[in-house]
Symmetry: D2
Subunit: 359 residues, 4 copies
Amino acid sequence: MKKRVAVVGATGIAGQQFLVALQNHPWFEVALIAASQRSAGKSYAEAIRDPKTGARRWWCQEEPPQQTLTLPVHEASTLNLDGIDLVFTAVESGPARDLEPLYAKTTPVVSTASAYRYEADIPLLIPGVNLDHIQLIDTQKRNRDWQGYIVTQPNCTTIGLAITLKPLFDQFGLQKVIMTSMQGLSGAGRSPGVIGMDTIDNVIPFIPGEEEKVEKENHKILGTFDSGAITPADFLVSAACTRVPVLEGHTEAMLASMQQPCSVDDARAAMIGFGKEFIGMELPSSPQHMIIVHDDPFRPQPRLDRDAEDGMTTSVGRLRPDRTLDNAVKYVLVSHNTKMGAAKGAVLTAEYLHQQGYV
Amino acid sequence: MKKRVAVVGATGIAGQQFLVALQNHPWFEVALIAASQRSAGKSYAEAIRDPKTGARRWWCQEEPPQQTLTLPVHEASTLNLDGIDLVFTAVESGPARDLEPLYAKTTPVVSTASAYRYEADIPLLIPGVNLDHIQLIDTQKRNRDWQGYIVTQPNCTTIGLAITLKPLFDQFGLQKVIMTSMQGLSGAGRSPGVIGMDTIDNVIPFIPGEEEKVEKENHKILGTFDSGAITPADFLVSAACTRVPVLEGHTEAMLASMQQPCSVDDARAAMIGFGKEFIGMELPSSPQHMIIVHDDPFRPQPRLDRDAEDGMTTSVGRLRPDRTLDNAVKYVLVSHNTKMGAAKGAVLTAEYLHQQGYV
Amino acid sequence: MKKRVAVVGATGIAGQQFLVALQNHPWFEVALIAASQRSAGKSYAEAIRDPKTGARRWWCQEEPPQQTLTLPVHEASTLNLDGIDLVFTAVESGPARDLEPLYAKTTPVVSTASAYRYEADIPLLIPGVNLDHIQLIDTQKRNRDWQGYIVTQPNCTTIGLAITLKPLFDQFGLQKVIMTSMQGLSGAGRSPGVIGMDTIDNVIPFIPGEEEKVEKENHKILGTFDSGAITPADFLVSAACTRVPVLEGHTEAMLASMQQPCSVDDARAAMIGFGKEFIGMELPSSPQHMIIVHDDPFRPQPRLDRDAEDGMTTSVGRLRPDRTLDNAVKYVLVSHNTKMGAAKGAVLTAEYLHQQGYV
Amino acid sequence: MKKRVAVVGATGIAGQQFLVALQNHPWFEVALIAASQRSAGKSYAEAIRDPKTGARRWWCQEEPPQQTLTLPVHEASTLNLDGIDLVFTAVESGPARDLEPLYAKTTPVVSTASAYRYEADIPLLIPGVNLDHIQLIDTQKRNRDWQGYIVTQPNCTTIGLAITLKPLFDQFGLQKVIMTSMQGLSGAGRSPGVIGMDTIDNVIPFIPGEEEKVEKENHKILGTFDSGAITPADFLVSAACTRVPVLEGHTEAMLASMQQPCSVDDARAAMIGFGKEFIGMELPSSPQHMIIVHDDPFRPQPRLDRDAEDGMTTSVGRLRPDRTLDNAVKYVLVSHNTKMGAAKGAVLTAEYLHQQGYV
């Protein structure tokens, strides 16, 4: 029998991506959907129809799952979680701060919001990178006296960074990481997200709060779990985050300086070999490779590579040496900000939680 | 009486920008235009008309100067420079290698090509940055027994970098510079340049040869002229060059580490104060500011800022501290790759040469 | 002494375009600016600064006029028009419905809103096309017992259409007009206008209400003023309006069928000869040509042609015969939707009103 | 046993699309690939690798089929077709004129080139629309004394037009069709196709030869086969073809005037009901619907709808009445120019030929 899951924030773009990621899922079935008061009481099909123009407010490339259209939408703040095994939340940070502890009293919560990411007893997980951090759940339940718990997913920009740094960190130690991102528009959502007039023939050099998130989250993700707590990793991160006229996919120009000597070939081997154990678990939403390394110098490109392995792998290219920092390599990565970087990555985390008996 | 100038490569996009930059120029008049054999013998108007479709192959936003349309196009390889005071060359590196020494035997040459940029006795000039390097002309003429000479302009990506680094270099010394560029399409020209299918919804992470040029050129430009030669500056540059769906304007995310302490306010003051003396010369194509510093964190943006002061100023924003390197600041710059970064920058160099008696 | 004008809706994109169009105007000076309650009481500089991020919410390519930045912003609904000679309104249709009659009681109003466009005694004016319709002002003042009056400007999509149809209508009579538009994003404004995610690599085939406006407005504009009223012109218009990834400039593929025989050469001659008398008035914001006709088959293009004559001329190309309808020609036009098509066109109308003694 | 097919022009973008469309095909296997002399003698993997930069010149979203990479590339002009059952040609019109008759002497040829489209005894086929025209093959073989034959596919812009017109033509008769296209870039290919600088923030209002092709091809496709020949259909077509910044998918704004009364509901019913018999054949590359009709007024959009049913269906929306012409309706369609509109459409034609015993 499948686990019954709830999707909160189901009318927004991130919630819609959850519905797509959960369609025909072998382990989970969407039993409950919730949104704000405005949508509550309608069927999902009604809730995503613009009453004025008749347009359907659905923004995934995939069609909305047929069985979801007839589900009633419940109000997120008064949700009855009886019989629900797991809650996925896809809401803004503000509402998440109020809603998630409410749900976690009784039920496991997997969240893409930033509200609880930085609290010491809340795991910040990337599948294949630091799933051992789920042990923090026990600390959390003890601390907060909850029957459920909250686990969070990092910012979409952090994810490609952390995935490609992890094998370098493990084998060579990290000293310094300098990153410039060229981020796709879908990362900004649609309310209103980025205005069309600002994106055409342009680069927007600032994404409020993004650089701080990237710098902070990597330390926690690559930190060590020990005696019930995470000791953050100790290296320096400098980020410059920009928005470019790309629909989906974050491109990141990376420079990583290591503690030990690390040639370009060493880095390539470390990346190619990374994550075999996790991949071997064959979780339903898992990619076949955590990282794909391209030799073609013109790759990765966001439009060509974001969808590799259904958006769940990170594509790396242009691996080359750097002489400005110690033991340094440069590379470019592309990761899919709304697949591995959001809903589908969170579903993969939930699959691991389930496999480990946490759901 | 105006100086009579030749424009070689006048049918290409860079040559057309020279014609626009020289239109109604107070000191220079276009007396001779040259191109490859295919165009030679036609009027300029004919040479830029596609015989099959009737389309005009003219790619500047400004209209072609009326008086140019009737000029005959001469063949570049057999050019008679009698009565010509100065040659501007806007051709590819290959032809430049053969043509420029031919012209320089008798006549000053100002070139945007890379053919001679890296030779020890050829100045690599940016107006307002290192115009004292024109003294190398004397060495060059002696070495090569030429009556004229060649001066070159750097790669368009180097220019914003070098202009903003110069005040930091002068006041604080430079240790390390790490740069990621997001370059406009016009930098790739049109033969065929970047294909439309590759630029839509995409980032191209590689521009062949560009990173090497940027790394090399800065050392020469910020080098010291002494005893008839340039001693290159001694700091490290690491570049990652990418192409984004932007028509014109190069955006560069910069991280500069200095030898001396340099706060964000110090860096801002150095940039704002930079180039007053050069600006004070009031050369015809000069900007009013070498650098404009924005406080609005969403600036500079290429579409909004590339045309500031007719594309001759460099716009800086997002000045902020960095803790990964010593005495470091981060910023974003936008410079116009086909105005200050190409033809109009070369015309400004020529104005200085003229003012100093070199033309 | 200059006429003192008010700009209502001055913080929005259309209002900002008025401020730019009125900068250094020889006849008008901006004496009063108004907006909604949210901005009232602030200086204009404050009103357009985002309090959270410090970003400047200014969206014209030109910088904001220096003298405007220190003006106080008044509340639109309680505006004191003492000493004001003319009001320009740049607000949405809803507020316009309430505000404009309020102002018109005492003061002339030139409006870009659609609220009163279709009322029988309100002129719907395009400079150079139907300025004789200002005679309707007398009817209006009598009907409504106002000291001032309202004149309106058409929808931005109507303008290129009506300007190019007028010479055909006058010389050959019109039977049928079939038009498909490919409209720039700026026509949708910014609140939120068109979302970036929807415009990349895409065409949006529907603009609510636009086709009806285009069909209706042409009849009124090309109508005849007689005995104090307009008799609408009698021809058929069929419009298909789409949005394309273009910043500014509306491109329209036209098919016009005439009552009299009209060859391609006839149509070209009619368009080239159009509007000489109006142009001859040399009003400050006037173009030098109402219509420019291109022979290059690849023109007009919105990016290349929208700014011709500072966005005040309409560019036509691809004039060719059509055999599906009687006496028909096809052509493509580009007109600037936020220059002639909005604020600057309204300023040109006001210049004419002033010259005719109506201000 | 599968039929052995050859793909000629396999290194170009259209040829690559054939390789993708034929991957794992149940009936056909790619046994032979051919290209120009430059590629001949190399493996396919080598032939599509840029020797200078190492970049892979492969332009489909899908990866190249693994088994193709090791196949040797033969020279198209000296191809040995022993043991080959069918040839797909994906070359320019010039080479097609020479090569196709060479192949057709012995072997069936299905071509996307325009070289033989307009010859009286060569069928111009769209699957589901006029497959009865394959009877022309017998006339052709007799006329030309060939053992094989040539069948051709229309221009990609014609296809959506003809598919949606066919049900209207059959039920109501057609009088006049007026169409404006907004075409994707991939229709122009890559040699060099459309230059990136021309497509950004722009519309190109002219595609040489395209309007004539669209006007001519519809008459032949909707013509009647009788007594060994096609009698072209008798209605008028007027096309305006433009290029917009869209990667793939042609959007067409249609106005169709019928001979019999046809309401919007009639037109919708005719389109929805269209092609049931052909769909019922369940050919391997067939869509499930020839036409999908959207009620959401913002659909179809090329980015959202081009890939519907793997690019093999035509999406229609905005069905509405028109009063300018007799019995007229307007609608917007999106069709995939490189799937149904090119290689995969040709493969579907070949499937039908095979099923009917022509291969």
